[in-house]
């Protein structure tokens, strides 16, 4: 008894154990209930052909890895993967540089800068679904902005969302429009954290604006850049709500799916819970693999 008491006394310095006993259970319970258990269940369902209408023990049919081989061999899934890669590429090559350029322009305080920051950040406040709907009307070839444009110049009506090559590219455009403001804000926060002394010292040493930007400012906020690359990739992998209103049913010839709209269409709408679960598991593995390796190999480089 006394040994327990002394162990407790030794380890409960500053109430560590008390805190643990008090604060860990709620979080752990919620995490287990809503994250760990569903993950395990999805992993299990992925091996079955099951509609989800009655208990899996009654109506589930064991499929082994067939769900997985069917997902991986499905041409629509391939185009969904390709579309996701497109979002990542556009984010990194267009969206982030744009966000950086804007951030450098409006980072310093001032009424006009504040105004433009607000304007650029505005699209991010919109819900994805709403943005998708708004842009669906803009891209409409009859009544939308695109339609007005073609009539103004006397061209044939053009419907980007019905065009196999342009449907998903239209979505990409909206992604850039909606999210660059968010990344810009991350960069602004980073830029405002740079010590004024450093910039002054550089100026005294005769560095020009170009050099200050590329040799001092950007290297100093590399951690913010790494973070926004991380958010872009994870966001691309989970991209869903905006596509549903813009390209209902996956767009022309199902060419406009992302991984999650694929999961939703083929797993949930078509009532194939087992098949959908296997897509979910694949998505989970990709996300985890990316998150862990990125944290380990890229984010760690901060400490160098």
């Amino acid at each position: 008894m006394s040994s327990i008491r002394s162990w407790f006394y030794r380890n409960n310095q500053g109430g560590r154990i008390t805190t643990l006993l008090l604060f860990l259970p709620p979080a752990l319970t919620i995490f287990t209930l809503f994250v760990v258990l569903p993950l395990g269940e999805a992993g299990y369902y992925g091996f079955f052909k099951w509609k989800g209408l009655s208990a899996i023990s009654e109506s589930g049919k064991w499929m082994g890895f067939e769900n997985y081989s069917r997902v991986l061999g499905h041409s629509v899934f391939h185009s969904a993967i390709w579309n996701t890669i497109k979002i990542i590429l556009v984010s990194i090559l267009i969206q982030l540089p744009l966000a950086m350029a804007m951030a450098l322009l409006v980072a310093s305080t001032g009424a006009l800068n504040n105004f433009f920051r607000l304007v650029f950040f505005m699209p991010f406040i919109l819900a994805d679904v709403v943005a998708g709907l708004i842009w669906r009307y803009i891209f409409d070839g009859d009544y939308g902005l695109v339609g007005q444009f073609t009539t103004l110049f006397g061209m044939d009506p053009y419907y980007p969302l019905a065009d196999k090559t342009w449907a998903f590219n239209s979505v990409l455009m909206v992604v850039v429009w909606k999210y660059f403001g968010y990344h810009m804000m991350i960069y602004i926060a980073g830029l405002q954290g740079i010590s004024k002394d450093l910039l002054e010292a550089a100026k005294i040493d005769g560095a020009n604006n170009w050099q200050i930007t590329f040799r001092i400012k950007i290297p100093l906020i590399m951690h913010a850049v790494k973070l926004s690359v991380f958010f872009s990739v994870i966001g691309a992998l989970q991209f869903f709500e905006m596509v549903i209103p813009m390209l209902p049913g996956g767009g022309p010839s199902s060419s406009g799916h992302t991984i999650v709209t694929y999961l939703y269409t083929y797993g949930i709408v078509r009532m194939k819970v087992g098949f959908g679960s296997s897509v979910g598991v694949i998505l989970f593995i990709v996300c985890m693999a990316f998150a862990f390796s990125y944290q380990r190999y890229v984010m760690k480089m901060n400490n160098d």
Partner: protein, 418 residues
Amino acid sequence: MIKTTKLLTSLALAAGISVAAQAADTVVRHLHLNNDPRIPAMWEEFAKEFEASNPGVDVQIEFLENEAFKAKLPTMLQSKSKPDVFYSWGGQNFADRAEAGLLQDVSGLAGGLQKNLSSGGMSAFTVGGKVYGAPYMVSQVGFWYNKKLFAQAGVKAEEIKTWDDLLEAVKTLKKAGITPIAAGGADKWPIHFYTTYLAMRTGGQDTFNSALAEDVSWDNPDYVKAFKLFTDLVALEPFQSGFMAAGYGDASGTFGDHKAAMHLMGEWDIGVQRDQSQSKEGVKDEDLGFFNFPSVPDGKGAGTDTLGGINGWAFSKGASPEAVKWIEFFLAKEQQSREAAAGFIIPVAKGADKAVNDPHKSIIAKNLAKAEWHQVFWDQALGSDVGGVINDVSAELATGDVSPEDAAARIQEAWELR
């Protein structure tokens, strides 16, 4: 995950829907999704009359909006707050629920229903010889056309009897500078009316039943031929420009705005094309015409066979005998006639079709009476997975992204994997 959502949804439902039962009454909860307030108002009258002659029964008519209904029903049916009777589109989803034990077998109590209602309608709610529901109304898909635009191009609807006649009409309309057909390609299912109607014409009921029984495959020559015939139409570019970006509502609006001469759709489109048009007047009754889907002369199916829906009511597991009694009353000839006379439905009760006054709906009621085979929409009848693939390939045929042979092969593949 499913279990926890189930719990949460049932809690939410329990909070959302008031179950204000009077103590001694047997409560019959009747869940629908009809958003035309006049119709449930009439049902409330039925309920009062029923309660008057059946003391101790309390009929509660409850409403959920269409999308909410579809989203909540699966979890609702596994919870304690489930309705006794709920709206159903029939088809494979209904059969799946029956086989999964979510529905009540009422065969022993269904004598009255079977006596009153058309046998074709009843069969849509019978699975494996057992009755799990009852039909409420029928619909038929056919060509709605704009009489003014037809007259302007010199096309006569009465002369469109065969598929070739339709192709000719499309050519004539195009020559007159009129968009022949409105279609909502983005939603895909409006396009599957073409492919499946044609498959009914080329293959007939025998081929369909053989395919269901797996005696012939879904990529049989009849269905490949049907898809080829559809591509003949597609080759004429009959649809409004940008039809693959247009949903059903958009296409309906195009037709309602007098911008296209035809729209292949069910009779619900009469109201929808009006609401979706810019003027909110749409194509007025006197300018609106209807003709049957054309026949294919060398096909195995009759030109009188119809495609459409049979919607009705399903009994959930544990539904009381009073619920069956209520539905029997609800679907009796008198009640169905009152609804038909008010222009709400095309009825399924025997003899109630005489009460249909609406000029368009009475044409359809007559068509349905003539039809030896009324097929429920294929995307419903074959389940959401196979049905989804049919919709996919139909849309791809409309853009020329798949050959008729490959389209049929993909349906067969989906059937094997279902």
